[in-house]
Symmetry: C2
Subunit: 247 residues, 2 copies
């Protein structure tokens, strides 16, 4: 059976998250309904990152199998006609039969935007957390170093019983200006609410509420109660997903 | 009388332009109503750039005189409480009595965003013109050179009888990537619809509809009919206003 890959971007503001939920507007619901309308058959999709309610995507990846060859550019345009402008299908391609958007992914990369200016920027308010206070980016950057590498991130996860919270973080960096801080985080995978919990912790460090020199201990504690703040969803964007071989 | 300066940003999507119009949502209407509510007196403002319906601002400047000293940070916060989140007062300051946001300005700088990717980006769709076709940025850049300097821009203006259309353009450059083109334009002042008409012309050059090597002739023609396309307002943002002395 041919296997297809869709690359998506979306404004998550009006959706109750990626994953389909009965009676709720979701990205998966919109996409699978549109696929079924166009292809005249139910389609089950796999997704690289199940983003939470209000979280956005710049480079989400979805895959599905179909018992037919399709004209991919026509499919892409037809999908955009049904799911736009909040959701955009950036690309549609045929991939190898062993490709699965979720299981084949080797890394996910997220961006979180924090605005510390005296007023919220009206043009980016839908994708930026406005915190109304100065932060200390050097202290946040110093604390971020402790997250690099393979750790049990139970402190930063809404845990699922019986599932590991061990993840391998390859990047956690701050960029941008003092007034618009970009937090970039990349890992092989993320547990539930992990980026928002890590950003919430860095925010607590940046405002002097937590001592960033203890970051390694906070991770080591494996205690969800060790972190007070979860950053709100609208500042978070799933930026890209990688499928490099693990060789 | 003390003179005050406000620096504004706004998402122009929901407004019928900057200038006050009876019964229409406008930036000036919202701002002056909020000023009157807070200060308990009617306030008449001057503005650096009277943006059209749907045009945004990142660094608009407004000034007004008032027969009283005010706590500027309290005023700024109170204004934001009334006009946000579509409008933000970024800064409030007292300035010299001869300062007028419109007449003292020595330059205005605009940004226009054009997305040529196969699909519109959901996260920037409110500030970007999506043109659905590849353009030729080198040809556009070559044509842009003809605009630099002092010219009669009647070709690119919705003219007002009895007013000159002579303006001094100091920058017209393209940046960004092939898929997200940023057009930056700076001049001492702009006539009505000038940036959108210039961008519309560059778009016609970029898609091969106009011959960019004739740009100087198109300017010289002083004929509004010589330009076929006016770029839509939502891609345009008033980026900054300068008040350097003209020495």
């Amino acid at each position: 059976m041919p296997t297809y890959r869709l690359d998506l971007a979306y404004d998550g503001s009006g959706f109750n998250g990626y994953a389909r939920q009965s009676g709720q507007p979701t990205i998966q619901g919109e996409l699978e309904t549109a696929l079924e309308t166009i292809l005249n058959t139910p389609v089950a999709t796999s997704v690289a990152g199940r983003t939470d309610a209000g979280v956005h995507a710049h480079g989400q990846v979805v895959s599905f199998q179909l018992d037919a060859e399709v004209d991919l550019e026509r499919l892409r345009r037809a999908l955009n006609g049904l799911v736009g402008p909040e959701i955009a299908v950036l690309a549609a391609s045929e991939v190898g039969g062993d490709f699965d958007a979720r299981h084949s992914a080797t890394w996910r990369r997220y961006r979180y935007l924090i605005n510390t200016a005296g007023a919220q920027d009206p043009l980016t308010r839908h994708i930026t957390w406005h915190v109304r206070r100065p932060l200390d980016p050097p202290a946040m950057t110093a604390a971020a170093v402790a997250f690099i590498g393979e750790h049990d991130f139970t402190t930063f996860c809404r845990s699922v019983v019986g599932r590991t919270n061990v993840r391998r973080v390859t990047e956690l960096t701050l960029r941008g200006s003092d007034e618009l801080i970009e937090v970039w985080m990349q890992a092989n995978a993320f547990c539930h609410q992990m980026v928002r919990s890590v950003v919430g912790y860095l925010y607590d460090v940046g405002r002097g509420f937590s001592d960033g020199s203890l970051a390694a201990d906070v991770i080591e504690a494996r205690d969800r109660a060790a972190v007070a703040t979860v950053a709100p969803p609208h500042g978070l964007t799933l930026w890209a997903v990688g499928y490099e071989s693990r060789s």
